[in-house]
Amino acid sequence: MGATSSIDLLNNLHTGFTIALTWQNLLCCTAGVLFGQMIGILPGIGAPTAIALLLPLTFSLNPTSAIIMFAGIYYGVAYGGTVTSILINVPGESSSVMTCVDGYAMAQKGRAGAALSIAAIGSFIAGTAAIVLLMSFAPALAAFALRFGPAEYFALGVMAFGLLTVFGSGSPFKIVISTVIGVLISTIGMDGVSGMPRFTFGIPQLLGGIDFIVIICGLFGLAEVFNSIEEPEGGRLVHDRFKLSEVFLTWQEWVESRWAILRGGIIGFLIGLIPAGGITTASFLAYMAERRASKHPETFGRGNIAGVAAPESANNAASISGFAPLLALGVPGSATTAVMLAGFMMWGIRPGPLLFTTKPDLVWGLIASMYVGNVILLLINMFLIPAFVAMLRIPYSILMGFIVIFASIGAYSVNNSMFEVWVMVGFGLLGYAMKKLKYPTVPLILGMVLGTLVEKSLRQALVLSAGSLDVFYSRPIALALLLIALLAYCSPLIRAVLRKAGYGQNVVNLESL
C-alpha cells in the first residue's frame, strides 16, 4: 500500500514536472519569482497586493500558467522581503520583521553578504523540504476532507475566523468586527439560494456582489499608497555595493546556522498548515525557539546568524505549507492565499478535496513549479543581489503612480466598468482608515472570501438537519473544529489570565528595529 502510494506520488510528480518544465510555464514561474522578489524588496507593496495588481497580466494565460506565476510571486515575496530587512532595517514584508533584528546587526558588522546568503540558503532548504512534505500531506488532507459535509465546512470556516484572534495582534474585538464586516460584504448581491437581492439598494452593478479583486486592489493597493505617503518607511542603506565573494559563508557560520534552518523549517511548515497561522507568526516563533535553543541567547539581536536563518527558513516553509489548506480544503490561511483563491475562482476552479482528482495537472504542475521556483530564487539571490539592491534607489514618488495604475486597471478589468474603479477608491479609503485606527485588514479579506462558504454550509447543514443544531455537535469533526474555534475566541481572555499570573511574557531584543 505504502509502496503503491509512493509510486503514485512519484508518477504525479513526474506529470507535474512535465507541465512545470514546458517553456511557457517555466517562463511564468521565472517571471513570477522575479516579480515577487522585486515586490518583496519594495517596502509598501505586500504579496496580496502584488498578486491582485498583477492579475490583469495573466488574462492571456491558461489557468495552470497563471497559478504557477502567482505562486512564484507568493514565495518570491518571502525571499525579497529579506533584502530590505538586512540592508536598511525595513522589512519589505511583515514576515521579514524578525530578520531585521540580527540581519541588520550583521550588516552593520560588514556581514550583509553572509546574512543575505544564509537567508537564501535557509529559505531554499526549508522551502524544498516543505514542498516534499506538502506533496505527501496535501493529498492526505484532501482525502480526509472528503468526509466533510456542510456542518464540517461551516465549523472549519468558524475555526479559521477564531484563529485570527489567536494569531492577530491588537484588540480581539476589532479583529472580530473586521471579520464580520468581511462576511457582511460577501452577502451583498443576489442570494445564491433564494435569488433575492441583498443590500443592493437598487444599484444593478451590486447584484453580482462586490468582486474580491476590486476590494483587494483598494484595500491593499490604494490604501498602501496613502499609508506610505503618511508614514514613509525610512532607513539607511548600510551596504549598497556587493562583491560576489562577500556572499559566501564561512564554515563557522554554516555550522551555526544548520540546526536553525531545520528547526525554523519545521516550525514554519507546521504553522503554515493552520488556517490564519500566517508566515509572520511562523518567523516570530522560529526566532523565539532559536533564541531559547541557543547556548548563547545573549548574542541574539547583536548579529547572530542563526537569528537570520531561523525566521527566514520558517517564513519560506510556511508560505509553501500554506498551500495545503488552500488546495485540499479550499480554505485560505492568509490574505495572500485568499487572493490566490480568488485567482483560482476567476478561472472557474474551486480548490477543495476534489481538486486533486479533477485537476491533477494544475495541482501537480503547481507543486513541481515550486521546486523550480525555489532553485531560480536561490540562484538569483546568490548572484543577482546587487541588481536588486539597486532597486532600493527608486523613489516612492514614481512607484506610487504605478501602484495606482495597476490597482485601477485591475479593478476596471473585472467588469470593464468604471463602477468598480470607484468602489476600489472607496475601499482604498477604508483600508487607509482601518490601518490608522488599528483595525486589521486581513480578517476582513478572509471574512469576505470565506463568508460565502460559511453561509452556504450553515444553511445547507440546517436544511439537512431540518433546522436542528444537533448537526454541529453530533458529528465529531464538526464538534472538534467548533471547540477549537471556541477556545480560539477565548484565547485573549486566557492570555490575559496567564499574563496576570506571570506567564507568557516574551522578551525580544527589538532595539535594532
Partner: protein, 149 residues
Amino acid sequence: MRLANIVVGVAVFLLGLATTVLAWTTLPYTGDFGPGPGFLPFWLGLALMVCAVPVIIADLRAQANAEPLFRPETVKCVQVLGLIVGVFLFLPFLGFSVGLALITAGGMRLMGKHGWISCAATALLTAVFIHYLFGQWLSIPLPKGVIGW
C-alpha cells in the same frame, strides 16, 4: 486619535443596527427549507453591535492619545486623493492611458522633487506603457479619450 476611535466605534454600532433592522424588515429570516437570506445578516448585525460596545467603552476609558490623527503628511494624502478622484472624473474625456499617466506625473510633482521635464517624460512613457501593455498586448478594452488612447 481617541475621539476618532470612539466615532468609528459608534459608526460600527450603527452599521450593525442598520444591518439587523434591514435584514429583519426586508429579508425573510427563514426560507422554505431552513434559514432564509436574512438569517446570517441579522446575526452579523448583532455581532457588530455587541463587539462595538467594548471598543467604545475602552476608548472612553482610555487617556487622551498623544498620537495625532492627522500628521503634516496627511495634506499630501489629501492632495494625492484629490488628484486621483479628479483624474477619474475626467477619464471619459482623457482616456485611461493618458489619465493614469497624469496621475503618475502629478504624484511625482506632489511627492518628490522632480522637475517638469522628468515628470512630462515619465507621463509620456507611462501612457505608452499602458496603451501597449494593457490595451494592445493584453487586449483589455480600456476607455479611450479624445486622442484615441
